[in-house]
Symmetry: C2
Subunit: 195 residues, 2 copies
């Protein structure tokens, strides 16, 4: 069986990780690929309730997302993991575990200038963080370690979601991460399964 791919979206709160992952997921599902989104907030609810936002707890949360992503990817699923994942070390550890299994890992850095994020402030969290009402807020009162060699960089302040989706899809296909063969196999699969 062909191994899957983990697309790991990292970036500050409000940069657009979840929105982009959802749009890309829809596009990939249309193309017939098995796809799962592991969203940081959702995973916290299901796998990490009780964990906070200390470095240790954040790292544990990321390792748990990585553990699940690994199981899915080695069974052929395209996993879109969307989590702030502020620290480099756990991101790199997850990458190593996943590629060790023969699956692929692409780090996608969703960049957006801090002043734009503060301006947008969709969830009103930056206002609270700046006022000191929310502690350990990444980018304000907690560190964010930018990826050193991300496979893809998206600037969500200048690029539309559609543009980003097509760019990631093209990058994944062009790099041979999704071979035309897998599309063929998928067709045969659907045909024989009669669905």
């Amino acid at each position: 069986m062909e191994k899957g791919i983990v697309l790991w979206f990292t970036g500050l709160s409000g940069a657009g990780k979840t929105t982009l992952a959802r749009a890309l997921s829809t596009r990939l599902a249309e193309e017939g690929f098995p796809v799962e989104i592991l969203d940081g907030d959702e995973v916290r609810e299901n796998l990490s309730r009780g964990l906070g936002f200390s470095k240790a707890d954040r790292d544990t949360n990321i390792r748990r997302i990585g553990f699940v992503a690994r199981l899915l990817a080695r069974n052929g699923v395209i996993v879109l993991a969307a989590a702030i994942s502020p620290y480099r070390q756990p991101r790199d550890d997850v990458r190593r575990d996943i590629t060790d299994d023969g699956a692929r890992f692409l780090e996608i850095f969703i960049h957006c200038p801090l002043n734009v994020l503060i301006e947008r402030d969709v969830k009103g969290l930056y206002k609270k963080a700046l006022a000191g009402e929310v502690k350990n807020f990444t980018g304000i009162s907690d560190p964010y370690e930018e990826p050193l060699r991300p496979e893809i960089i998206i600037d969500s302040s200048t690029e539309s979601i559609d543009q980003s989706v097509e760019r990631i899809l093209a990058r994944v296909i062009e790099a041979g991460e999704i071979s035309p063969q897998s599309a063929l196999v998928e067709s045969a699969h659907s045909l024989l399964a009669g669905d």
Copy 2:
């Protein structure tokens, strides 16, 4: 894509859940099926470190295994979940979530008389539990709620592992849980993928 199956092994410590899951996993992999084992102890390490053995913590652990099993099964994987899972409610909740996705769920009750388990005591845990050195030990100082309508019952005190493996496999295939078609699709998949 064809949905997977969750085979949920429940029973007391030392009854043989993990041993049987491993033997069955090997057999299923030989047949070309995508298979993952979610072992209670391993999952505790990866997803539930910090949780104890209170009812609430046990339930949380089971729900986490169920969450991961669900993601895998809806992507076509055969998941062998091996965990004491002493309480009926979380087992039934996991069953509902998984079947709601269109995947299948078979509860496999690994039964073994308590006196045999105490006699065997492979890990020396029953001795400690009986001496009161280990608290909240299922079957001794903590309840075990037997399944009311398990799809399969195994008595590991009278049945060999090979017998149990073949019996589960036959039950799964005969019930049409694995259709001949899926074997055909798997062959086409392998052929086209060239592996």
